[in-house]
């Protein structure tokens, strides 16, 4: 089923009620349709992966539009049960869902964590608390599509950081040396 052209649909995953409310509002103000869930497993269920069917069955369900369609998934990193990183991995190894851009949010600005997420295919890594300006950038990911190779994307992000230290999400990291 084709999405309404105007509204991009974001799936937000966070175990914190306060943060879910904030991210939901941030996204709505940026004119996105939002579905907020509290765990990785709820997110996978929403997207049509229930973990028991074979991946080809899931792919068929997704491609037939029988599951919920989203343009972006934004998830907290530290969650009880399935972490944001584990969710990211599951999404990127799913043939049906790996094209959906995923953004990770974390209250901790840890280089190795950021690198790991980017290497696993995350589009971006936002350090909490998330602001309106962080969210406005996300629309670029949703609109850009999935043309680039993952490594190229990661290299592009590092270059952005070096060229423009004021870039919102990555500027909270220490500068990278190539």
């Amino acid at each position: 089923m084709p999405q309404t052209k105007e509204l991009l649909h974001v799936l937000a995953v966070d175990d914190s009620l306060v943060d879910r409310k904030v991210i939901e509002r941030l996204l709505k103000i940026s004119s996105c349709k939002v579905t907020a869930v509290e765990s990785g497993s709820s997110a996978l269920q929403y997207l049509g992966l229930d973990g028991e069917k074979s991946s080809s069955v899931e792919f068929d369900r997704v491609s037939q539009g029988l599951c919920n369609q989203v343009n972006l998934i934004i998830t907290d990193y530290s969650m009880p049960g399935m972490s944001g990183y584990q969710l990211l991995k599951k999404l990127k190894t799913s043939s049906a869902l790996r094209k959906i851009p995923v953004v990770i949010m974390s209250s901790e600005n840890i280089m190795s964590r950021i690198d790991r997420c980017l290497e696993q295919g995350a589009e971006d890594f936002l350090v909490k608390p998330v602001k309106l300006s962080d969210v406005e950038r996300l629309k670029d990911y949703m609109l850009k599509g999935q043309g680039e190779d993952d490594k190229v994307k990661a290299a592009y992000k590092r270059k952005l950081q070096e060229d423009d230290p004021s870039s919102q999400s990555l500027s909270k990291r220490p500068p990278l040396v190539n």
Binding site: V18, K21, V22, R25, P80, K128, L132
Partner: protein
């Protein structure tokens, strides 16, 4: 008209003092930006969620630290959540205590943890009190027919 101006000035002075004293940081301003005519109670709603969440966490922390064998992972989970939510609404001093709290439970220092628990409680109730005062001022301004001043 006079009353409204007076109340508005009181509001601005009060909110400024909260920033000055470090009780609130820029994130609170970010939260206020998310309130508009379509969502006129947004700040109040988020802050109320924060209050409910926090009181549950404080309760759970007290219980966790009162056990014969303290489960420091439970303590970690609570403090991590508290740090996150306080950071999300801009309750800076609460958040900062959570950071020190971590050092204590990482070291499994029970005395230190109990001290931190007391400190975080004190800071939490202080900011709660101040925010409730702030909301009362807002209500008074609106009741007197005025608009809530937008700061920053």
């Amino acid at each position: 008209m006079d009353i409204v101006n007076q109340l508005q000035r009181q509001y601005v002075d009060f909110l400024s003092s909260l920033y000055r004293e470090g009780l609130l940081d820029d994130q609170f301003l970010q939260i206020q930006k998310l309130q508009d005519e379509s969502n006129p109670d947004f700040v109040n709603e988020v802050v109320t969620l924060f209050f409910e969440d926090s009181e549950k966490l404080l309760h759970n922390l007290a219980i966790a630290l009162d056990q014969q064998h303290v489960d420091y992972q439970k303590v970690d989970a609570c403090v991590h959540q508290f740090k996150g939510s306080s950071s999300s609404i801009g309750a800076q001093r609460v958040r900062n205590i959570c950071v020190s709290f971590r050092t204590c439970y990482d070291a499994k220092n029970l005395e230190g943890c109990l001290r931190c628990l007391q400190q975080v409680k004190d800071e939490y109730y202080l900011v709660k009190n101040k925010l409730q005062t702030l909301f009362r001022l807002e209500q008074q301004i609106v009741a007197a027919g005025g608009a809530i001043p937008i700061m920053g």
